[in-house]
């Protein structure tokens, strides 16, 4: 374990060193290109120009300029960079769990570009994550989407003009069945599934009233009056933007009954659920989900870890896909996020999805759910050159990513990473030695001042609802 940690720590600064120019042409040739949109091309080539895919096809059909940098990928497989539609990595917080509706908080405010897990994911071929608020409350915070441009500032990681999304949560987490109530702490409403529904209905209703207030204001202005603008309320503004279709709902859910509840509730308010997250019992109500137009993001083979997860089946992805639902696989885990392609491979076993259908679950389909499919998610001309070069078939347990690039820039190169480890180890040794030589006197400090005195860290639920105590570094 210690060695593993060391390994990743040593690679931390690596991304910055690996940056290449993205203005040049890059030609990847002699690869098996798995496009995720139009089949697999044996003996294929991809031409990258200005970070975009300029051409893709058989080697003979792809022509590069004389100055193009050529990567000979003989024996290698190329896939689109993997997209995780449900992650909590690279954030300094997970839940604002104090209220049942915290639609005003934004995960984009607390991105941590130095989370080593971002680099671990990159080393596993991932290039984009959807950073979700946790599932502690019925309506959580607004989410963010970042590309894993390791070593670059947050401003460069964020997708420009990314679609806005918000986290909802149903079932045991928001009603706090599994949470550890603290001494003397009163339970927060809601405590039942009916209560969760009520929180959402009430929030939508408040959003409607808020919209009406602003409409009235705009009308008065049109009449030539000079009214005082209504107070801007960031929570209600988020509710209003949901009602107007400007913010997509990504809702944590497990059970069939609550899935149907949410779909109906949203329909009542003229809102579409964009993506159901986890969706363990989605297979039971696939026609209803398809009819609503929602997509589903799932954990392929997790079940039984809590009461509401008992009815999960590994055929879920296949059944929903066959019903016409856009299905994706998500990690919701720092661990699974770094070997994401194995998750897709599982679904070929259960339910006989084709190789390309399985690949789409971790590339094009999550991109569709995040409304980024026009930009990325498959190897097509005009899309971002977010690519992974595998040393073998990506669904084989014996394969591993050798190179991961984002917009034509290499952010992970296994060979360079291995070479660089000695350099970093040397630097570390020198720093330790330097400190040893100048020990200094320990300077007492006062502990960081608390906001209020209490024993408890903020409560966090692990992705699947079990309470954990997360100690921040």
């Amino acid at each position: 374990m210690k060695r593993t940690i060391l390994f990743f720590l040593l690679t931390l600064a690596f991304g910055a060193l690996a940056l290449a120019q993205n203005n040049e042409e890059i030609l990847i040739k002699n690869a098996t290109v798995m496009t995720a949109s139009h089949g697999t091309i044996e003996g294929g080539a991809i031409l990258i120009r200005n970070g975009k895919i300029a051409a893709v096809g058989k080697v003979a059909d792809v022509k590069a300029g004389a100055n193009a940098k050529v990567i000979d990928a003989t024996g290698m497989y190329v896939t689109p960079g993997f997209v995780d539609s449900h992650s909590h990595s690279g954030l300094d917080g997970t839940n604002e769990g104090t209220l049942s509706n915290t639609g005003m908080v934004r995960m984009g405010d607390v991105i941590n570009p130095l989370d080593p897990n971002l680099y671990q994911r990159l080393a596993g071929g991932m290039t984009l994550i959807h950073q979700l608020h946790g599932s502690a409350n019925a309506i959580g915070g607004q989410n963010s989407m970042i590309k894993l441009k390791w070593g670059r500032p947050v401003s460069e990681m964020l997708i420009p003009d990314a679609p806005r999304t918000i986290k909802f949560a149903l079932g045991e987490n928001p009603k706090r069945s599994n949470g550890l109530a603290l001494p003397g702490a009163a339970r927060r409403f809601p405590a039942t599934r009916m209560g969760v529904e009520e929180v959402i209905r009430e929030s939508f209703t408040q959003g409607r009233e808020y919209l009406a207030k602003w409409d009235e204001y705009e009308l008065a202005k049109k009449r030539g009056e000079d009214p005082l603008p209504p107070r801007r309320d960031l929570k209600l503004e988020a509710m209003a933007d949901i009602l107007k279709g400007k913010i997509d709902i990504h809702s944590h859910c497990y059970r069939a009954d609550e899935i149907v509840m949410l779909l109906r509730l949203c329909e009542e308010f003229g809102v579409k659920v964009r993506t159901l997250q986890h969706t363990l019992e989605g297979y039971k109500v696939a026609p209803e989900i398809a009819k609503h137009g929602a997509s589903a993001s799932i954990l392929p083979d997790w079940w039984g870890y809590k009461m509401e997860a008992y009815d999960a089946i590994p055929y879920n992805a296949a059944i929903m896909t066959r019903r016409g639902i856009v299905v994706s696989i998500h990690s919701d885990s720092a661990d699974y996020g770094r070997r994401f392609y194995m998750e897709a491979a599982k679904v070929m076993k259960y339910g006989d999805l084709t190789e390309e259908e399985a690949l789409r679950l971790i590339t094009l389909n999550p991109a569709i759910q995040m409304r980024l499919d026009k930009r990325l998610g498959s190897i097509d001309v005009g899309k971002d050159a977010d690519l992974v070069l595998f040393n073998g078939h990506p669904f084989s347990v014996y394969s591993r990513p050798e190179v991961t690039m984002i917009e034509g820039v290499v952010y992970f190169d296994r060979k360079k990473d291995l070479e660089n480890r000695a350099v970093l180890a040397k630097e570390k040794k020198e720093l330790i030695e330097k400190e040893r030589r100048t020990p200094g006197v320990a300077q007492p400090t006062t502990p960081p001042q608390p906001v209020i005195p209490t024993w408890a860290e903020e409560e966090e639920l692990d992705p699947h609802g079990a309470p954990v105590r997360k100690i921040r570094q």
Partner: protein, 594 residues
């Protein structure tokens, strides 16, 4: 609001009266001193060799090489020594009551701020439904002026011994911590020490109020809360400006003291100080200030060496902490630390030079340093890392004076400025230099050798420690005693008895008692916390090292397990207490038998 402004008025009145008195009477206030023969580092002008400074009525009456010494002046011979302006610490909590918790539920400053017992506060918090948010920690109208404790002769003794005569002091806790003041570190009544209040509004981007508290309880919640507050303040401004322009026929807007207190901040008149140390926290603070066009001072700014040029482009002022990250005590395997951590520790002293080079306006603060004396030693490390020496001196004298709008009164040795002066045995940044004499508001303080700061046991401030009264005796607790005979063997019932422990929990100090019985190496008994009692389920002592496990039962019948590990030295104990997956330092002592 009313109480607040009344107090302000009272303070202003006191200041005015004090000024008049000092001119008229010249008794205690009129005492005159002449500091002669020393090297006078004026900071703003040329350094004077063998200069004389005449101090009268709390002000510098004259300074120069050929200044006559008035007949009534007490002469301080500074031959061979160096005279500097008194040092200014740009962000502290000096003089603030230790127990000054943020105003309690029900809103309003005064609603529980003075004398609030933290444990009572917890109970109140826990009892409160999270759906009924209290204002604790969220009130920008809170002022440090209302939290200052009575000043005694020994208040600020440690600070003066380290060369400090002035500090920005601010409330300790909160998302909005409240409004700060500049105080002189003398021995007058607190009201007389105030040079300026309010100076800044202070805020933090920490993780909020935690579970059991109400919104905001997370880093993103804190930012959302601050954003909404500034939006509300803007709306309040709009509402009142419309009403004031044309009150006839318009419904009167409601007065809100929090939003009123934010007005000077959103109008860019009062700086907002945000404590932020990591690069990304600094970026968040700047983004927030940009969004609302606020005048931002970043306090802490440990990692500002990473983005100094960018801070310059954003016109940010930095109150740079000289509390550098340190190697954790008792680190067994140095390899277990990440390269990044090691780099951050090695690079921290470079921040000042980076800021200076980039042209960022900055001043030094002692940050979380418990011993003011470490301030100078750490400034010397910044000089080693490339900061010009004169800039280092300015960053603790004239720069903070300019930053806080007090350059006419403070920060240099000039005629007419407040007589805050220090006389040192030599160059202030040299290793063996000692502060010999200190003047605060023209009042003379001799620095006794005993006042030299001592190592505090356990590292963290004990009760009353560090920044409060009794600064000359840090920690309030006895300094770490050599192991007494009793500490050598545990057989004698070393642990038995009643102990009072103070735990530096992540969210504040907590007191508890431990009643222990000892039988050989076995320990039994119970811990009493304010919100429940905890029988010891397993306990042992080996040598002087004690290890306990306990189960806490809370008022609502829940149970949870915890640990306590400590070392007993005589009648003192210190160590770590573990609960809910986190360890907190504690210190304590045995209650004498009656």
């Amino acid at each position: 609001m009313k109480r607040n402004s009344l107090l302000r008025l009272a303070c202003a009145a006191v200041l005015t009266v004090a000024a008049i008195l000092s001119v008229r009477t010249g008794s205690a206030q009129g005492e005159a001193f002449a500091i002669k023969g020393g090297t006078v580092v004026t900071v703003t002008g040329a350094t004077i060799q063998k200069g004389t400074i005449v101090v009268r009525n709390g002000l510098i009456q004259a300074v120069g090489a050929d200044v006559p010494i008035p007949g009534d002046a007490r002469v301080v011979d500074a031959t061979g020594m160096t005279v500097y302006p008194g040092l200014i610490d740009a962000h502290t909590t000096y003089g603030v009551r230790q127990d000054a918790a943020p105003a309690g539920g029900g809103g309003g400053r005064g609603g529980g701020a003075p004398g609030a017992d933290p444990s009572q506060f917890i109970l109140a918090q826990l009892a409160a439904q999270s759906a009924q948010p209290s204002g604790a920690g969220l009130l920008p109208e809170v002022s440090v002026v209302d939290q200052l404790q009575p000043v005694t002769e020994t208040s600020f003794e440690t600070q003066r011994a380290a060369g400090f005569t002035t500090a920005l002091t601010a409330p300790r806790t909160g998302v909005f911590q409240g409004q700060s003041a500049i105080i002189n570190l003398g021995t007058d009544a607190a009201e007389k020490l105030i040079l300026k209040a309010p100076v800044t509004l202070n805020a933090t981007l920490g993780s909020g109020r935690g579970f059991g508290g109400s919104y905001p309880g997370s880093p993103m919640g804190v930012i959302a809360f601050l954003r909404q507050s500034f939006l509300d303040a803007q709306h309040y401004r709009e509402e009142w400006s419309r009403y004031n322009k044309n009150p006839r026929g318009m419904q009167r807007p409601q007065v809100n003291k929090s939003l009123a207190a934010l007005q000077p901040v959103i109008n860019g008149e009062m700086p907002l100080v945000i404590t932020a140390n990591s690069q990304r926290e600094i970026e968040r603070a700047v983004a927030l200030a940009d969004e609302f066009k606020l005048k931002l001072y970043v306090s802490g700014a440990t990692q500002s060496y990473m983005n100094a040029d960018w801070l310059k482009s954003k016109s940010v002022t930095v109150l740079l902490s000289l509390s550098y990250p340190q190697k954790p005590a008792g680190l067994e395997d140095p390899e277990s630390e990440s390269l990044r951590t090691l780099r951050e520790r090695a690079d921290a002293p470079k921040a000042a030079a980076a800021l200076q080079k980039a042209g960022v306006r900055f001043a030094f603060t002692s940050g979380t340093l418990a011993r003011p004396a470490d301030f100078i030693a750490n400034a010397a490390r910044a000089i080693e890392a490339g900061l010009p020496k004169d800039e280092a001196l300015k960053a603790m004298t004239i720069y903070p004076a300019q930053i806080f709008g007090l350059a006419e009164q403070l920060g240099s040795i000039e005629k007419g400025k407040i007589a805050n002066l220090i006389v040192t045995s030599g160059d202030i940044f040299a290793k063996d230099t000692k502060v010999k004499h200190v003047f605060v508001d023209g009042k003379y303080f001799e620095v006794k050798a005993e006042a030299a700061p001592q190592q505090r046991p356990g590292g963290f401030g004990g009760p009353g420690g560090g920044r409060g009264p009794g600064g000359g005796r840090p920690g309030g607790a006895p300094p770490s005693a050599p192991p007494s005979d009793a500490a050598v063997s545990s057989g004698a019932g070393l642990a038995a008895g009643s102990w009072t422990l103070t735990v530096a929990s992540p969210r504040g100090e907590m007191k508890l008692t431990a009643n222990l019985q000892q039988n050989g190496e076995a320990i039994t008994g119970e811990l009493n916390l304010q919100f429940g009692s905890a029988p010891i389920t397993k306990g042992s002592i080996k040598g002087n090292e004690i290890e306990l496990e306990y189960t806490l039962t809370t008022p609502n019948g829940q149970t949870m397990n915890g640990t306590l590990k400590g070392k007993i030295e005589g009648a003192s104990i210190s160590g770590q207490m573990g609960m809910m997956g986190r360890n907190s330092e504690f210190t304590g002592s045995k209650t004498p038998k009656e």
